[in-house]
């Protein structure tokens, strides 16, 4: 009981630190991401949005006001993300929330935004639920969703002659929904396909040897892979050693992203059909401008995270500029149907489900000079890989 005294003291201390007043000439965006849990993604991501902030303020800010991004770490926990969101909204008086990586954290923040009536621009979370089955009017999402990436991959995968398919996916929502959407779309296009095996290693804890062996035993002609990060490295190494990928087609989510492709170095398997970000071969003026600015500032090449971070803040700035207000209702009105330029070309935030039409590159992995690359890559616009409006209206709850 004596503890409450100390506790109250601490709380008052926190209050005085946090209670700084908002200056009139500044617009604040509250940004949340899993910085300490997923530094491999979030470091380039942070560099991306810092570049965007610099560019925006160099060009005169938002309608003359300086843009400030206040960034918080969520440690990979939904509950902590909500604490951070609360601090940003209640103490920092931010105009909007942005960011998040993991799907469950994105959903937690989007639910918070819905409850507290705050605008939220989800950057990375891939789950379809955030715009569809659990969508709400305060939440928009930038990155192409699980469904969209699956649809892009299915387009290529359906062309393969392979009939016997196996899947390897991390055992959590992302892996489960990626596999189920892929299976559904694939079976629609190719009713002759058989699903001969599925493996569900726990995320981050794959015991790659037995998994590879088990998949090989089912003797599939093609494999769908959804693992990424350290799991992917282990899977690829075991698969290479055990010849799993020899004479088999592999379709793989996200593997073309530098975050996941680069660590594979000289073990990069060739000919996988992947989604990703071949920054070295995108020759559009928009992207070259971004690449030049990024490399000049950081002396490093961008990862996909850099694009996501950059575009999140660029989009947010465009929204704030158009709304010319920080009122959430006006922000929503401004965002619905808003088109903004991006390093991948113009994107639009759809009115119907608040999904942006940012696309992804689909290509093949290749190995050159001991490094993994994406070749034959083509940009797929997000707008081409979404279900019909009628289907979306069925899934998305009414506001």
């Amino acid at each position: 009981m004596r503890g409450y005294f100390a506790g109250a003291g601490l709380m008052v201390a926190v209050a005085t630190v946090a209670g700084s007043a908002m200056a009139q000439s500044v617009i604040k965006i509250g940004e949340i991401n899993s910085y300490s849990l997923l530094p491999a993604f979030t470091e380039p991501y942070r560099k991306g949005w810092q570049l965007a902030v610099e560019e925006i303020n160099a060009a005169g800010g938002i309608n003359g006001k300086k843009l400030v991004v206040i960034s918080k770490d969520d440690g990979g926990k939904p509950a902590d993300a909500q604490t951070a969101a609360n601090e940003l909204v209640s103490s920092e008086n931010v105009a909007m929330l942005a960011g998040t990586f993991l799907s469950n954290i994105g959903l937690a923040v989007s639910d918070f935004a819905n409850q507290k009536k705050v605008f939220f621009l989800a950057a990375e979370p891939l789950t379809d639920a955030i715009t569809w089955s659990k969508g709400n009017r305060y939440t928009f999402r930038l990155r192409p969703s699980n469904y969209m990436q699956a649809a892009m991959l299915v387009e290529e995968a359906a062309k393969l002659p392979a009939k016997r398919w196996a899947t390897i996916a991390p055992n959590y929502e992302y892996g489960q929904s990626a596999v189920s959407v892929f299976k559904k779309l694939m079976s629609e296009k190719r009713p002759d396909i058989q699903w001969v095996d599925e493996q569900w290693p726990p995320q981050g804890k794959i015991d790659a040897g037995p998994v590879v062996q088990a998949v090989a035993a089912a003797n599939p002609e093609a494999i769908l892979n959804v693992t990424f990060g350290a799991d992917l490295v282990k899977l690829v190494r075991e698969g290479n050693t055990r010849g799993l990928f020899k004479d088999r087609k592999v379709v793989s989510f996200l593997t073309g992203e530098p975050e996941y492709l680069d660590p594979l170095k000289d073990e990069t398997p060739e000919g996988w059909i992947v989604t990703g970000y071949p920054w070295y071969s995108i020759k559009t003026p928009e992207h070259e401008a971004f690449l030049k600015a990024y490399q000049a500032k950081y002396n490093d090449y961008p990862r996909l995270g850099s694009i996501v971070g950059y575009q999140t803040i660029k989009s947010a700035a465009a929204i704030l500029a158009k709304a010319n207000s920080t009122d959430p209702e006006k922000l929503i009105a401004a965002t619905e149907g808003l088109s903004v330029p991006s390093p991948f070309g113009e994107i639009t935030f759809r009115k119907i489900d608040h999904q942006s039409t940012l696309g992804a590159f689909v290509g093949k992995t290749a190995l050159k000079a001991g490094k993994g690359l994406m070749v034959d890559s083509v940009y797929r616009r997000g707008s081409d890989y979404l279900p019909s409006d009628a289907e979306i209206e069925k899934m998305r709850p009414k506001d």
Binding site: G7, M11, T42, L107, Y172, E173, R242
Partner: protein
């Protein structure tokens, strides 16, 4: 047929890596009784060090030399840790060392990112073991074969070391009865240091040997630590052979289990552990622990209820806390509510752990069950907040009643690990049963009714419940039931001899603690408006342990202070810096050194000493306390 042989060999290779790390942990625990949470961190450091060395020095000699050198370097780091940190706290309450190693683990996770960068690192393949061997059409990596041989070799070397050397004899003696070894004049300091060094060497070696097949990254430690604990416990603490058998058992069950149930890996080790511990309470090769010789009742200041003055102070503190909404904004109030929730959670664990002497490593299960209970009632049944808050914790009660029944049959670390296994089983149900629990996307939109929705109202609600819970639990502590519970803690044999039904009392305590934790979880669900499997994860259980230990496990009001300090600091650091783990870990380590009995425990000891010297109390009692310490 060839496939099954290949799958078996693959399982053996996984077992060998697991065994290396597990044997180290088992040796350290056997001799020093330290639950070395940092074992995974040493494993990870071994991998990182080996990566750097093998990148620098090429060739076969460079690679294998690099692996061994990395393990030796990290072992030296381990020695440093033991001498600088752990030596200071061998006489602290049991499990306090867990707190120190937990702090270290937090620090290491940030340090490796600072040193080696955030990217996953791909180590070299082992020279001479790059390809695969063809076995009737099945490819078996030659490195796997190397590991399959290495496992038993290490086992053999350890066996010789323990059976054939004087040092080994001392280690075995200390594992059996370290007080007796000390009494016979063996220099315990160096015995402990050398054992710790060997254990860390094995962990680092296990990590270093992973680089040809893994990606070195900053999450390796958590990936391995829990699994290794489980293996050690299944095998029986302190038994090297047990660790080996358990590693093989777990790895093979996994290798073949995924053929039938591809989703089994997520829970398999915990299922095996739960079954083994229920059937064989001391693991496969473990021996029943000798009854504790020390009498904890003497090592601490006897507990007493608060004096009238202290009660007034507590009331005043509560009044100050209740006045917070007058001055503070919404964010501070929400943080205040969260702290109040964790005070409830911490005192519930404290009740089980300090009063009942049953340290649970899976207390978050009941917290999470309470949270899910509320989510089901509020979302699915649409019940009003107050009803859900009252009924939600019943799910925690139910879980505690079922699991507690099995858990209290065990004691010590085995009890802790069985609770961990149950918590993981509950967690995986929440995680996997997507149609009911929403899987890891959780249940959203669990917001309280209007009357409790504003931050100040919810703050008062949480504060009120927290105060009530603290008072009720204190009343129980000083009730006849509480005295009975403390008796079972201090001496199960004697309390049984005087007619106390030990198991029933412990079970009751378990249910009380689980229900209170469920209440905390119920409030937490409403505070956050959503429920995730995270709410019953290992990290939350560890947080609760840290709060209790930080406050002082041998005190009555420790958990309240511990929860406030830890939670407030945690929230503040996470908000202020991306290196929150480094700072928080350093803080925990500092606290451990500065307050070897926890914050409240050390303060009480200081006040006690002041009072003693002032009144020069009975010298006989003082000397007895010191002897017991």
């Amino acid at each position: 047929m060839a496939f099954y042989v290949a799958q078996f060999l693959t399982g053996l290779a996984s077992a060998a890596s697991l065994f290396l790390v597990a044997s180290g942990l088992s040796i350290i625990f056997g001799v020093t009784r330290i639950v070395n949470f940092a074992h995974g961190a040493f494993y990870m450091l071994g991998a990182y060090a080996a990566f750097t060395l093998t990148e620098r020095f090429s060739g076969a000699l460079g690679f294998w030399g690099g692996i061994v050198a990395a393990a030796l370097i990290i072992a030296a780091v381990g020695v440093l840790v033991e001498m600088v940190l752990l030596r200071r706290i061998y006489h602290s309450p049991e499990l306090f060392q867990l707190l120190a190693t937990f702090g270290l683990t937090l620090m290491v996770e940030d340090v490796v990112v600072l040193i080696w960068g955030p990217d996953d690192l791909l180590g070299r393949r082992a020279p001479g073991f790059k390809g695969a061997v063809d076995f009737f059409g099945q490819s078996i990596p030659s490195y796997d074969l190397f590991l399959i041989v290495l496992g038993p070799v290490v086992l053999g070397v350890l066996w010789l070391l323990f059976q054939r050397t004087r040092w080994g004899i001392l280690v075995r003696a200390a594992t059996q009865d370290r007080d007796m070894v000390a009494a016979l004049g063996v220099n315990q300091k160096w015995l402990f240091t050398s054992v710790f060094a060997l254990g860390v060497f094995l962990a680092a070696l296990g990590g270093a040997l992973q680089i040809p097949r893994d990606a070195v990254n900053h999450a390796m430690d958590l990936r391995v630590i829990v699994e290794v604990f489980v293996v050690v416990v299944i095998g029986g603490l302190g038994s090297i052979i047990g660790a080996f058998v358990a590693a093989v058992l777990v790895s093979e069950l996994n290798a073949f289990g995924i053929l039938i149930f591809p989703k089994i890996s997520i829970i398999l080790v915990f299922l095996v552990m739960a079954v083994v511990l229920i059937v064989r309470p001391w693991g496969l090769f473990g021996r029943p622990e000798a009854p504790a010789r020390r009498t904890p009742g003497l090592t601490v200041n006897p507990w007493r209820p608060l004096t009238t003055n202290e009660r007034l102070v507590a009331l005043a503190a509560l009044a100050v806390a209740a006045a917070l909404p007058l001055v503070a904004g919404n964010y501070v109030l929400t943080v205040g509510s969260e702290i109040a929730v964790f005070v409830i959670f911490a005192v519930s664990l404290h009740f089980l752990m300090s009063v009942g002497g049953l340290a649970s490593f899976g207390h978050a299960a009941y917290f999470g069950l309470g949270a899910y209970g509320v989510a089901f009632l509020a979302k699915l049944a649409g019940l009003p907040t107050i009803v859900s808050l009252l009924l939600g914790p019943m799910l925690g009660l139910l879980g505690a009643a079922v699991f507690g029944f099995f858990a209290v049959q065990l004691s010590g670390v085995y009890f802790a690990m069985l609770t961990l296994a149950f918590a993981q089983i509950v967690w995986s149900i929440a995680f996997q049963w997507v149609s009911v629990t929403g899987g890891d996307n959780g249940i959203l939109g669990v917001w309280p009714d209007k009357w409790a929705a504003t931050p100040s109202h919810f703050y008062w609600l949480s504060l009120g419940v927290a105060a009530l819970v603290v008072v009720i639990l204190r009343v129980i502590v000083f009730s006849p039931f509480g005295f009975g519970l403390r008796a079972t803690r201090d001496s199960p044999l004697r309390s049984e001899a005087i007619g106390i039904n030990v198991k029933r009392i412990q079970w009751t305590a378990f249910v009380i603690a689980g229900t209170v934790a469920g209440l905390a979880g119920a409030l937490f669900a409403y505070l956050k408006g959503s429920v995730f499997p995270d709410n019953m994860g290992i990290s939350l259980s560890v947080d609760a342990l840290v709060m209790v230990l930080l406050g002082g496990v041998e005190t009555v009001s420790g958990p309240v202070i511990g929860a406030i300090v830890y939670k407030a600091l945690n929230i503040w650091l996470v908000s202020q810096t991306d290196l929150s783990k480094l700072v928080l870990g350093a803080f925990v380590v500092l606290i451990v050194v500065a307050f070897p009995k926890g914050i409240v425990g050390t303060l009480e000891a200081i006040m006690q000493r002041g009072r003693k010297s002032a009144s020069s109390a009975s010298p006989l009692l003082t000397s007895r306390i010191e002897t017991a310490e």
